[in-house]
Symmetry: C2
Subunit: 397 residues, 2 copies
């Protein structure tokens, strides 16, 4: 009998698919007693448990034959129609996906060939880097900060290359928390329109603004300008519950059609029960729910910033988020966030080192803090511990 060496049996692509180092680190943070700012999880106290329980039972009793049966790949029509009305598009422009992560995989599948250039912010969402990487593209990056991507660097990159698409999170970026100002959005869109550049706008955090209102999305600005090249992703993960895995893509019908064909081969369709449940949960009282979520996160962000202002030495820089779930911290050049991670774990506090958010490396002195899952007291205690670890690292540096 021949022995099997799986590493030689797998294809080339399998070598590119690796466990994210972060996920390995995160396992260490599950220890009891650790206050973790590491996860990107939404606040569980905001989940609509009771409402979902009542609605799920009603759905299964009253239309179990639909909720439990195979469904259309495009999604449950009433949910598509609801999203369409919410965003001012038509249902043919909406595809329901099994989380936004699936939309990222479909983007790779449909747009990226081996070696295709694809343009990202540095840092950018790790799950996007991971999804795209499986398709073997060539990553181009532009630096991004509190006001989004560096537009000069972006223009230079676009003058040299024509990427298959530009992937951006303009509002409350993961991991940096950055928010592109309106003027930057307009300028970026101009550049895209001049070049016929496809822009993928990931707007998972769209509703989590702390100010008076939301900035218009690139997608909305592009619609006004008559430009069809923006593909829009968003999700119910941050405004209802991520465990349901219900998200959506909005784009021109010809793009939706190709994504739908790709999705057929990937999971046939998103679970029907979950889609009906989301529809039942959003069709009434959604604005009030969003208000509660915004108020909650704003208070948590405030608690973290107060603690950071009190506990952090002046050598350390951090963002002041205008929305979303994250504070992005930068240690003095030359210091390692992974070294800090180990030191912090000894203080029973955890975060995510920033390195893996950079598609082409770098960012070793950066880290991401999430304030979403903890209450005010634990946030303050966690930052006190982190401050101690930071001071310890600085003292030995």
């Amino acid at each position: 009998m021949k022995t099997l060496d799986w590493n030689t049996l797998f294809g080339e692509r399998a070598r590119r698919i690796q466990a994210s180092t972060i996920r390995e680190l995160l396992k260490l943070t599950q220890r009891p007693g650790v206050l973790s700012f590491a996860g990107g999880l939404p606040a569980p106290e905001l989940f609509p448990k009771e409402e979902a329980a009542a609605k799920a039972a009603e759905i299964l009793r009253q239309k179990g034959e639909v909720a439990l049966q195979y469904g259309p790949t495009e999604g449950y029509f009433p949910l598509r129609a609801w999203v369409a009305e919410w965003l001012g598009v038509s249902p043919e422009e909406v595809l329901i996906t099994t989380g936004s992560q699936q939309a990222l995989d479909l983007l790779g599948k449909v747009f990226l060939d081996e070696g295709s250039p694809v343009l990202l912010e540095a840092p950018s969402y790790m799950g996007a880097i991971q999804a795209f990487r499986a398709y073997g593209p060539r990553f181009l990056t532009v630096p991004a900060g509190e006001e989004g991507p560096d537009l000069k660097a972006l223009e230079e990159a676009l003058n040299q290359e024509y990427p298959r698409f530009l992937y951006l999170i303009p509002s409350f970026q993961n991991p940096s928390g950055g928010l592109m100002p309106l003027e930057a959005r307009r300028r970026l869109l101009e550049m895209a329109m001049e070049r016929g550049l496809v822009v993928v706008e990931d707007d998972a955090y769209r509703e989590l603004y702390f100010g008076e209102s939301r900035l218009p999305s690139l997608f909305e600005l592009a619609r006004e300008a008559g430009y069809p090249g923006v593909i829009y992703l968003s999700s119910f993960s941050k405004v209802l519950a991520p465990g349901l895995r219900v998200a959506f893509v909005v784009a021109r019908p010809e793009v939706i059609l190709k994504f739908t064909q790709a999705k057929q081969g990937v999971d046939l369709h998103t679970p029907v029960l979950n889609q009906i449940l989301v529809h039942e949960l959003v069709k009434e009282g959604f604005p009030e729910r969003l208000d509660r979520i915004r108020t909650t996160y704003k208070a948590k962000a405030q608690a973290m910033l107060e603690a950071l202002d009190r506990e952090m030495p002046k050598e350390v820089a951090y963002t002041r988020p205008k929305g979303g779930m994250f504070v992005w911290m930068t240690l003095p050049e030359g210091l390692s966030a992974e070294a800090l991670f180990r030191q912090a774990l000894e203080e029973n506090v955890a975060f995510v080192p920033g390195g893996p958010f950079f598609a082409n490396g770098g960012g070793e002195n950066t880290l991401r803090l999430s304030y979403a899952t903890m209450d005010r007291e634990r946030i303050q205690e966690g930052i006190r511990r982190l401050g101690k670890a930071v001071k310890g690292l600085l003292a030995t540096a």
Copy 2:
């Protein structure tokens, strides 16, 4: 502003991803009044509506923070452990997937490079062909019938090529309904072991046998023989409800690890609520549920066979399924199942033409009939109509 031609913006792969012709045909069968044997849908009267309603409400009330939160990529541990115990493996050998379709996509992603040979039965499951095709493999096929793949043809193929894997549905094959006898299973396994061939066993219909018991799976036989090269797929779609999209892969831990890494990039994890719900539904009374399902499908198959025996002219051949959901029909050489499809639609009856189940073409005179969703009366009336269409086609041929 540059105009956008999406077909040039998409990658090479997008050209391979096409709508299945069947799905286009199926749309025609949704017309009111049409009796459709076309879909591969399970019988909705077997869905555990009331039980699922009660359990879902309880889960969301009692552990909503878990059911609605992000979960581990490998799956909800108690469900993995339940599957492991059911199949006599360890939980580390089980990955929960978002339907078996996702497992097929992951297989392609992990094993197939552009041009890799992959061996399938002809006919085989269309969803597998579709999932693999996106990765650009070279399909090799061996003819398969009521007793599974032609082992002589299989041996010849394996003497010439070493495919990345052999994909098989040994029990109640979709679409042919075929069942590989025990002796053939043993012989196939010997061939695989001699060559170190990876065998993917898709056992979605494992519990739908009409006889006294189930034949041992290739996976079980391989375990007995100490051969690690069988990857086993199955699902709760046919024994609980497909709309929940909960299925699983069983394989060596090193394979599960690579699939888990690939799944991270694809949808992060299968919806947690759905996994807990499946676990709650199977952990009690599952054997009795399976008995009910078997009895129901057996009676439906019987009803279809009686009608076929009565209505079909002798020129037409069809299988007598020993389990599963399908009868496979072969028209006289030279007749077209697509032509019959059009004629049948005029009689308000539908089925799936067999052509798309053949990865490399052929099978134009074959078709698949599902008896799963209709009751006895409608099955008989549908077959009466189909008989009329067949006789019409034969008369004009």
